[in-house]
């Protein structure tokens, strides 16, 4: 096929990020400068974000058999780019005190974003795998970026080894599907599924293996084991990135796969996914009860949240895509701001992150606005009305009720009730009177720094989306229909 101008326009965000990565890389080779590198990355990601407007003029368009750039892809591209930008600003503040080479981080981040962008636009196994690896491989490096600290290095290695195993499953699954349908495109796979017959067991096996790999990346029970360790070990901006970009990309892709290939019509797979969802809600929230480390706590809480979201996959109806979009937007905003606060308190880097809950005791009395942001985020994660988290949870419940998935609805409710307990604990901790132990704080001018401004903006967004989510709902629904 020939590339036309509109194809190039459709690829613009990918190209811009690509160029950014190369420029950053060459820039580092030429002369190291932290601020310049961070600025270059920010500019590049912003440019990519702006270029999405241009992309909208040509959507939907298929660029090679591998990529399908439609409004759905554009929506999640925007989300990924925003999350990438947020992580960049956080990383800038965080790495200021880092006692090793700081600049390569941005290159890794750019590569990973590129992988995410590829994934959300892919409707072909090849681009899926390519995107997934491009997303994951830099993440290993990012997780182990503070490699002199034991936890960081350990988390990087754990993530790499387990992730490689998951990738092996993915490849094996794809191979089986290819052997069966003779094509790697999602659409052909869907056609093959609907026409039935053939070796159904192969299809089942192949999709099952792919589900295992995806469940691993989304840290769903029982493939979640790495989550807490990696969340804890990775530097805070990396955790923010991992908790958002990789989840958005994989979930968006999972939805696209399951929408074009109605897999959940197969009874056994339907049951398996439902069980995974239910287990994730329960295990994630139960495990989080005990955590005294806020990053681990967030790790387990993310398991629970992804469990809620998986309800949508089980339902796979008209509402599902809408719910996915809304939930991901609200969840990403909330998670970014939460890790933003953690990163700001841990910034600049001083050997390890300030993640133990006891360090947050009495934060309100020292940094009232930061504590307020954290409070709003905890409320949003708990799904309290007037915050964005509620809107997401409402839609998940609505999807569950609509599809009559009573067990999962019960799971969401029980899980939320459990989660209330530990989110409250964090919240209460912020307002207690501080003890005389050593204290860590965000620098006093955090509000004027890029990272701080970003966190405040996100907090405002969480509130605004919670109070008046109509524009977001319209945006997402137009993205699905277009």
């Amino acid at each position: 096929m020939n590339l036309t101008l509109s194809h190039l326009i459709a690829l613009l965000p990918l190209l811009i990020v690509c160029v950014t990565v190369i420029v950053v890389m060459l820039g580092i080779a030429w002369r190291r400068h932290h601020v310049v590198t961070a600025s270059l990355t920010t500019i590049g990601l912003n440019a990519a974000l702006v270029s999405l407007l241009a992309v909208l003029t040509v959507t939907p368009i298929r660029v090679s058999p591998l990529l399908l750039v439609d409004n759905y892809a554009v929506l999640y591209m925007a989300l990924i780019l925003i999350a990438g930008l947020a992580s960049t600003t956080l990383a800038h503040a965080y790495l200021e005190g880092f006692d090793d080479q700081k600049e390569e981080f941005y290159m890794l981040l750019g590569c990973s974003v590129l992988g995410g962008l590829t994934m959300v636009a892919s409707d072909h196994m090849l681009s899926l795998f390519f995107g997934l690896e491009l997303l994951s491989v830099p993440l290993y490096g990012m997780a182990a970026y503070a490699y002199r600290t034991r936890l960081s290095l350990e988390s990087g290695i754990k993530y790499m080894v387990l992730s490689a195993a998951a990738s092996a499953f993915l490849l094996f699954g794809m191979a089986l599907l290819y052997a069966e349908s003779g094509s790697l495109a999602f659409a052909d796979l869907g056609a093959r599924l609907t026409e039935g017959g053939g070796h159904a067991s192969w299809l089942l096996m192949g999709i099952g293996m792919m589900v295992i790999a995806m469940a691993f990346k989304l840290s769903l029970v029982p493939f979640h084991l790495w989550t807490a360790d990696v969340y804890e070990g990775a530097p805070a901006p990396v955790t923010a990135f991992l908790a958002t970009v990789s989840k958005i990309a994989v979930f968006a892709l999972l939805m696209r796969l399951f929408m074009s290939a109605p897999v959940t019509d197969i009874a056994s797979l339907h049951t398996i996914v439902a069980i995974i969802a239910f287990l994730s809600m329960m295990v994630g929230n139960l495990m989080a009860l005990r955590q005294d480390n806020i990053k681990r706590l967030m790790g387990y809480s993310s398991i629970g949240h992804l469990g809620y979201l998986l309800t949508v996959v089980v339902a796979s109806d008209d509402l599902a895509l809408l719910t996915t979009g809304i939930y991901l937007i609200t969840y990403v905003a909330t998670t970014l701001a939460t890790f933003g606060v953690i990163a700001l308190v841990s910034s600049p880097w001083q050997g390890s992150d300030v993640a133990s809950l006891k360090f947050y005791r009495g934060l309100f009395w020292r940094r009232p606005y930061l504590a307020a942001v954290m409070t709003v985020m905890m409320l949003s994660l708990a799904g309290i009305p007037m915050t964005a988290g509620f809107i997401g949870k409402f839609y998940v419940l609505a999807t569950g009720v609509e599809a009559q998935l009573w067990w999962l609805v019960a799971g969401v409710i029980i899980g939320s009730a459990l989660s209330l307990y530990y989110y409250l604990r964090v919240m209460v901790m912020l307002y207690l009177h501080p003890t005389e132990e050593e204290q860590y704080d965000a620098s006093s001018d955090w509000g004027q720094r890029a990272g701080g401004i970003m966190v405040i903006l996100l907090a405002l967004a969480v509130l605004v989306l919670g109070i008046y989510p109509q524009p977001m709902i319209m945006l997402v629904s137009s993205a699905i229909l277009g």
Binding site: A166, M205, L225, P385, A410, L420, V428, I473
Partner: protein, 930 residues
Amino acid sequence: MTLPWIPLLTFLGVFVPALAIRGGRTVCALATATAPAVALGLVLFFYLGHDGDEVMRTSLQWLPAMGLELAFRLDGLSLLFLLLILGIGLLIILYTRYYLSEQDSMSRFYAFLMLFMTAMVGIVTSDNLLLLWGFWELTSISSFLLISFWSHETTARKGARMAMTVTGAGGLALLAGIMLIGKVVGTYDMGTVLESHDLITASPLYPAIIVLVLLGAFTKSAQFPFHFWLPHAMAAPTPVSAYLHSATMVKAGIFLMLRLHPALSGTELWTVIVTLTGLVTMVYGAWFAFLKTDLKGILAFSTISHLGLITSLLGLGNSQAMIAALFHIINHALFKASLFMAAGIIDHEAGTRDVRKLGGLYRLMPITTVLTCIATVSMAGLPPLNGFISKEMFFTEALASQQFGGLAWIVPLLAGLGGLLSVAYSLRLAYATFFRRPRQEPPKTPHEPPWPMRFPVELLVALCIIVGLVPTLPQSPILEDAVRATVSGEMPEFHLALWHGINPALLLSMAVIAGGIVLHLLHRHMMRFNRQFKPQDARYIFEGFVQRLVALCQRLIDRLENGSLQRYMFLLMAVSVLAMALGLADLDMLAGSLGQQALDPIVILGAALLIMGGVLTAALHRYRLISLLMLSVVGLVVALTFARFSAPDLALTQLSVEVVTMILLMLALFFLPQKTPKESSGARVVRDVLIATGFGGAVASLNFAVLTRDLNSISNFFIDQSVPGGGGHNVVNVILVDFRGFDTLGEITVLAIAGLAIFKLLNRLRLFMPATDMEGRLWSNDRHPTLLMVVSQTLLPLALLVSFFIFLRGHNQPGGGFIAGLITAVALILLYMSRGVEWAQQRLDFQFQPIAIAGVALSTFTGLCSWLFGYPFLTSTFDHFHLPLIGDIELASALIFDGGIYLAVVGATLMILANLGKLTTAHRPNKDMP
């Protein structure tokens, strides 16, 4: 459009205290009171200005996508509750001014209180179920803030968290219930929902709806068995208790049942669940109120008991019962708020709330004593106060209830028991606090509180008396409208009076009063009786439950997530195998249409070698060198397998790749310890063997499935097109250089880059090279064995010739640039090894980097050339030439491309291998030196 102003005003009131606190505490209290006062005026204005039957409604679009509207309504029910919420709220504001001590932040307290008031006002005025739910959650949060107001106290924090967890969880259940209602009715609009009684009760979802909605209501209204949070919420400042537990928070659940009464009630399910829960709660609460010694504890359990009373009336559900319920809501709010405030005064003045330490207060605080006693009489349900009237109505309904058939006697029995107990605890409260001789001095000598602090109590007690004596007063305007809003159909006839003549209810009342007095006299015995039971503190049970749950999680975490990568890997693999096992166990289903191939000895031998090699590699992995040798067996057999199944070109490629890989591994291994210490226990080894077997089995059965199927893959296309399209008989080579030329170009680029990166990484790296093994034996006396030197030097030209031959013939027969490159590399490496790096470098005095890059450039250039002829990138061409002597020769442009591959492979491989070899030469181990 003015209706939304009521919640908005109270909401604006949230911000007033913070601004007004600069003017002093009195100014702050007054300023805070403004907003609810105006709102109260507004309510009265609306109410007086509209016709009785009509419901005021107003709605604004908010979230049409979710069915959420900013809709408010004002009907009789809302009005009744609004009067309670705002009226008592104002009194609480006044009372708080004198209650809070100097250390407490008054502005914070008022802000929380106003937030809570907003939530309550929102609940009772919402005209949309979702909006109602939003305010419902807001009450949970704001009550959390209020209860934990004294956050330095652990009991306050724990009590607040318990209240929040229980009511919050109930709220989530309610949300699910509301969503089910929305699904059945199709809208969340209150008006429509209230008219859809038949639709909802006929729906198969009805039981779920009832259970979920009632879960929400029961947790909020502290019904058994969710009552336990309420006594612990008493850790809050007394104004909070007075407000939350008389008129507002706990009444929210009651309100919800009332509000949805027209839509949900009237079925057997509703009656049974609600009535029985209410009655059990009533008796349970009253019994514990009787046993408590803390003044606020008594009131808390009494609240639970009275809420149970109201709930059971709602369960009975006929119109008379509804009237009784509504009336009792008013009465309970009046006497309970005054009692709580009185308890606060006593606490404030005497410094304790423990009735065992109090006593004889009537001498010191006569006015407070009178006020409290009147309210207590009302609480006990004695004439001539308001409590008596509503209790009479309750007894009447209990005696008349028919819904339980043969078990109908249980309703009046429980009702009577509850009434009896409430007489007893009321007596005890009054007697022990005011009239009994004090056993010990209270911490402070009490005296009458300042007048404004007592004023709210006085006002409420006055209302109690007025309502008791003239019960028709609230009946006409307020109660009738409220009844109209909750009872569907005809407006029932009713009149409230103290005296209805002698009837069964009166007789029951008298019996209950007498019994209550007797029970009170037996109080000491009751206490002794109770002491035989283990004290059950709900906080310990709740916390214990939480702790056990947490401990269970901790055990799970320790078991599953101990941070061990091996364990994670094991679990990942085990789960995956389990998930796939079922599908893969059924070999018959997996078998395809092709027959199974016959086994011949060679294949069996190969398989055996392969298995042996694999097993030994794993088993001997601690001895790296031997393990590596075993690995090479595996590689070799795989290469031979290709040859056996007629793919000589693949076999050749695999073979040369194998050799290079082995050399690379050898060079790398050189720097690692020769042995690894034993780390795995026997059990772990067995486990790993099992997992490996399972996985091997899974892969084997998949292989079986693939091999027994006829695969229509694209390979036939390549085989067909190889000669006409690419001009070569070696399909693999044609694919590499022609069909998939683009891929190959990418690959060699990557290879070259990887080589460069390794070159760069190893640059200036110097590693210690041991000359002996760990036991101190010399590796070798002769670093460069002569025989090897001679052989390798002899082989070099031969190998180069062979590689050239293979390169040239590659297009048609097994061979090609890739293999040729590897052969060249191997030959050169052999030279390096036999002669040492210094020697080889002196003779091969050129760099390998340019070679690799030149290779990539050559390939790219070939591709670009096709543009000159107007073809797309990497189009290849071929032709046959007839040369003298040699004969017919076919030359394809792909050959040049292949040359590029050759150069890139040689350059990159040598860049890697030669540099790895170089690491060791620079440093001789100096510890062997004498």
